[in-house]
Amino acid sequence: MGETTPAVEIRNLVKDFRTSFRKKLLRAVDDVSITIMPGEVYGLIGPNGSGKSTTMKALLGLVAPTSGQCAIFGKDSLKVDSRNDVGFLPENPYFYKHLSGNETLRFYGKLCGLGGSALQERVEELLEMVDLTGARDRRVGGYSKGMLQRIGLAQALIQKPRLVILDEPTAGVDPVGSRQIRDLILKLSEQGITVFLCSHLLEQVQEVCNQVGIIFQGRMVKEGRLEDLIAIEDQTEIVLQDADERLIEGIHGMVERDGRASVVRTGKPRTTLERLFLREISEEE
């Protein structure tokens, strides 16, 4: 498959749901088009109920579009073979409680047609990758939220798909677990795997995605490269290490002499609460 085939191609997707009683139509997704090229990390952001999950489900063939088309690497989403190349982690997944982590991955692997030593090797590799080797024989019913998300990510990757779809991958996970998942997403991106994720945690999307779409009330309101979308074109940021008062005053003087430019603000950059939390935790350990 050439690099020119988009990993995800959603064209003019419309999805109406019929509310059960008065048969009133509810438009969950309204004319949404998304194209994700191989290797990109695309973040779809929007408030709850804005149509993010429905868009993903349509892409996976879990719901049928009212109109429009969805395709994965050129294959129609409504066809089963389109799912050979995709891994999916739903929002708040629960796996079969009676299976251990190892059995869970083996089950999904077998569904994808894997077997024998190739499957076991892949399972070991993924358990290692999501840091669950120690919990491999524990029943999934006893896993924490973060562990469930990680085993979920591992099952999504079992058949080495070229595309992974993650629905709120860090919802309800503590900062450490959330950081682990974020690092895993970055690792996938480094391996050239296309990632399509949706979230309402904007900071995280900003950290991992290079393409962003904003969806609101079923409609795509803004889309593009993250850097282009968030850059404030007429401003420039300079962060200095060990600069003394004299240097700062000098810089202020230079700006004043320029006449055209002006200083918007100076001060100490702040760490984020997340970084502070993670630093304190790692120091405690």
Partner: protein, 309 residues
């Protein structure tokens, strides 16, 4: 990505996937500890030896009531277990997957929906089959021991009375017919077939119902209707005989095609009485079961293939 030769050839992929899902459903049910029922069954099978039934028989026919009682209790317990498990387990598995969203993760893999349904159904049937097999072994063993005890006792009594050998032989054949026979194995198979019909029916109901309770209730209702639908049908036709038209016939045909007629399975009671099931009857039962199981599974697929999650 995996090489395509790594994944699977289309030919055997369906069978493999159905088996993976079936084995998983089987494991899931086993880990729900349904096999505990087997301990209760053991108590019933062994206990039925000691149920003191009023004896209306002389010493020349002593013991056959006990054999009847063992068969009756055992087959009754088998029916209860197999029908309850096939309905409840099937009604439970599908909504649970939807509720826990595990279904999303399965259908997001290259798994056709028919494979998923067939796998779940097969898993339940495997569980019922294995349980019935174990119960059958236990029942046959108990029956075998008890039959030889009864036979010894009866032969000794007859010899004492100086019966001619011919009469003793015919009496022995009579006792053996009450024991463990091929027809008895056929009756166990009939129990399994009926449970399979119920499992596939529950599968169909659960594809459009929203709760396990609804599925189970409707399925049990149809199970009971299945036992008197033939009577109801006959009565209806009889009443309408004077002006019976095409409509009545069509309605009857439709009812028979959609609702299983469980009176066909009354052969189980005949076996308890020591009668033989003709091979033709057995073959007919297998075909009937196959028809309903396939019909309900295909109907489930129609509903399920357009279902949105």
């Amino acid at each position: 990505m995996m090489d395509h030769s790594d994944t699977m050839s289309v030919k055997d992929s369906h069978v493999r996937r159905v088996l993976v899902i079936a084995t998983h459903a089987f494991t899931q049910l086993v880990r729900m500890k349904v096999f505990y029922f087997l301990a209760i069954f053991a108590v019933i099978a062994i206990g039925s030896n000691f149920f003191n039934l009023p004896q209306h028989e002389g010493p020349e026919s002593a013991g056959t009531e006990v054999l009847r009682s063992i068969k009756s209790w055992s087959l009754g317990a088998m029916t209860l277990f197999s029908v309850v498990i096939s309905i409840v387990a099937t009604a439970l598995l599908l909504p649970k997957d939807v509720e826990d969203r595990t279904l999303y993760t399965i259908l997001a893999k290259p798994v056709p929906r028919i494979d998923y349904l067939a796998g779940k159904l097969l898993g339940v049937m495997m569980l019922v089959f294995v349980s019935l097999l174990l119960m059958d072994v236990l029942m046959t063993a108990v029956l075998h021991i008890r039959t030889s005890m009864v036979l010894d006792q009866r032969v000794a009594y007859a010899t004492e009375l100086g019966w001619p050998q011919e009469a003793i032989d015919s009496m022995a054949a009579e006792v053996n017919a009450m024991g463990s026979t091929w027809s008895l194995q056929g009756a166990v198979l009939a129990v399994f077939l009926r449970a399979s019909i119920m499992a596939s029916l529950a599968l169909l109901v659960s594809t459009f119902s929203t709760s396990t309770l609804f599925t189970a209730t409707v399925s049990f209702l149809i199970y009971f209707i299945g036992h008197f639908q033939a009577d109801a049908r006959d009565a209806y036709l009889h009443v309408g005989e004077v002006g019976q038209g095409l409509v009545a016939k069509l309605v009857t045909l439709l009812v028979t095609l959609v609702l299983p007629d469980f009176q066909l399975f009354n052969v189980i009671d005949a076996v308890i009485e020591g009668q033989v099931i003709p091979l033709v009857t057995m073959g007919k039962l297998v075909l009937v079961a196959l028809y309903y199981a396939l019909f309900f599974t295909i109907a489930s697929w129609f509903v399920f293939s357009d279902k949105e999650f």
